[in-house]
Subunit: 452 residues, 2 copies
Amino acid sequence: MPLTRTPLLAETVRKLVARGAYVNAYKILNRLHPSDIAAILGDLSEHLRRDTFNTLYQRNLTLASEALAELGPERGALILSGMSAQEISAILQELDPDDAADFVADLPDELQEQILGAMREKEASEVEDLLQYPEQTAGRIMSPKVFSLDEDTTVAEAIQSLQAAGDLEMVFYIYVVDEHGNLVGVLSLRQLLLKRPETTLKDIMETDVIRVTTDTDQEEVSQLVASYNVLAVPVVDVQNKLVGVITVDDVIDVIKEEATEDMYRLAGLDTDERVFTSPRTSFKKRVPWLVVNLVTAFFAALVVSQFEDVIAQFALLAVFMPIVPGMGGNAGNQTLTVMVRGIALGELSWANSRKALFKELLVGLLNGILIGLLVGAVAFVWKGNPLIGGALCLAMIGNLLVAAIMGTLVPLTLRWMKVDPALASSVFVTTATDVTGFLLFLGLGTFFLARF
Amino acid sequence: MPLTRTPLLAETVRKLVARGAYVNAYKILNRLHPSDIAAILGDLSEHLRRDTFNTLYQRNLTLASEALAELGPERGALILSGMSAQEISAILQELDPDDAADFVADLPDELQEQILGAMREKEASEVEDLLQYPEQTAGRIMSPKVFSLDEDTTVAEAIQSLQAAGDLEMVFYIYVVDEHGNLVGVLSLRQLLLKRPETTLKDIMETDVIRVTTDTDQEEVSQLVASYNVLAVPVVDVQNKLVGVITVDDVIDVIKEEATEDMYRLAGLDTDERVFTSPRTSFKKRVPWLVVNLVTAFFAALVVSQFEDVIAQFALLAVFMPIVPGMGGNAGNQTLTVMVRGIALGELSWANSRKALFKELLVGLLNGILIGLLVGAVAFVWKGNPLIGGALCLAMIGNLLVAAIMGTLVPLTLRWMKVDPALASSVFVTTATDVTGFLLFLGLGTFFLARF
């Protein structure tokens, strides 16, 4: 969230709260957009952030709630953690039910009950309904406030209903339902303007409605919205009853979240972690991945261990030991990243995977030859030993081919097994390039040095 | 692009084109949404894709153009490469100018001129105008077809103009301009419905319009749209004259593109590469990064080289050599990924970087102690040598602290130097963890083994 519109005001607010002038800071914040306020709050230290938010909360509950929603559950939770259940529920009942559900879901169970108990009944039950759906599904991220009309409504009546509908900010489409509440059609606001007032919706609506069910994965929802260029997608239950709507602004959040997830998983990070997750939590979340990598590092050590006697004789081997597996790891990571992103963007599937593998093998071979010759030449010039150079060159070619194969097949196989390809691919790929890298270099090195 | 809506039809089309029944395949494609067609085309082999597209092109030019736009310039270019300039221009003039500009920009200069020359004059000049703006700026990705009305227009006249406006699919906002064409206000379609017909726009418009200029970076545009939850943002020139509009569907493309860019840069990939980029191009794009990594690998080798004599004496050192730098690399990569994503999402800045560094140091220390004790214990049990274990443990703690420092400071420094933090960070971080990892482990190992 760059403060493109308000950098000077943000600076002023920071200075004011730094010297405790919260009321003056409030006077500025009160004139800003909620997302500008969120950006300013996000940049403050925890202590100042909480105090600034409190000032805002006491003077303008609606604005405070909106700013909190923009801040998001991760960063907002720190603010809420200092408040009573009563205060929290006063804020959350101002939010859209889907935003409120995001916050509530992150709280401890006991506090959840207290807060929902203290909220107005209508808002509490909306939030409770959403919380029944699993995380990352359409049901969980939808807004239950969906604007729908009966199929027998006329255009004139529809326009009147729109005018009467109060706080529905993002109405782009009018969903049309039959007498059972089942979704039967859609039309855009603009289409309403083009038709005669007495026409009924049933005669002008589009009946082929792009829809999702409550259990559709949020990633699929976002791909659907992105593919079909729609601004909102209606959510129906198993009986095709219209129960909610997911708008494009939520989809943008999902797209960002899914991209973060892929990047994080490639690096062995838990998807919930952020820059300012507490050190304790970060430690607990990162250490398992490091332990998994440690196990694979011991595989590599086991390989090297087989060559201990040779290394004692030719210590020169140890000098060049890190190079082949290191380069294999880099090349494997390049291939892997292209594949994982290709799968996420829907460009790669089993159907066209043979072509992808063939391509990666060719690239691996070309890279292997070039890098192999280069590293062999440098080793020869540096240490005056052509045998080490030859072993390095051949091992490099072999290892870059392994990197190409594993980098392509591991993510495809994981996906075929219905595991997120970003999740565990890099462990397998790195283990393969490490083990074969050491094996090839030390094996070839032993062979060359012993024979010639 | 998952074929959630049409998996069976897609399969049928694939079978039909595989046995050359293009006309039958066309009959199915003709009933599908352009993005479904694009998804099917994307899954075909190059040869079949071109032939299928040709059949579609000859029978339904509009649909073919729309499908091509959905396919995007990278994958669409392969199709166009087999066509004449005449044919290409017939397709491109059907597209929205911003989509057409995307395709034209990727073509060789000479072909660009031929194609623009063969297009209808109006469309050609719209595309030429867009091409004057640098890539990845608002001017380049905007649509010049923006719906605007004079501030003295009444609500009734505005509704009439909307009804008359033909092919403007995504009208969400009406931008209001003064007599010089300068942007002075905005109102939503829905607001029009709420007001009396004789009201002039000037009296009901919102004057604080979120806008960007033609040279605004596309990443900033996407952050703006995401932050303020708007569906479109108007683009003005330096004189504040309204020249275009960027809609949320384009913003979604930008968000995906920028996420791909960050993932790719972390892995040392060129941002233009895709799964099916030609092997030759992929080779040329990947090899420079591998060479850069090779140079850093030689730094590591240089460090090891200083310990050649010790290794000749204690070859056991070589067995455990890969572990410390490897784990340092993994930990550094975790920190780096959190920071790069934090910067991209606007959560991390210089202002709060001290806090981030302190946190990472603490996490690095905890991880270092735990992993260090673990690796030391395993080494002791395996090889019965407590000295190697001690050296491993201390070196691990030191190296994970280095990983924390470098993982945090390198991306922040690059950003401060106005370089994309994702671009070169991992080289610096890996070099640091490799060099200090070998130095610490071999140094401590030498010290311990020689003394005790």
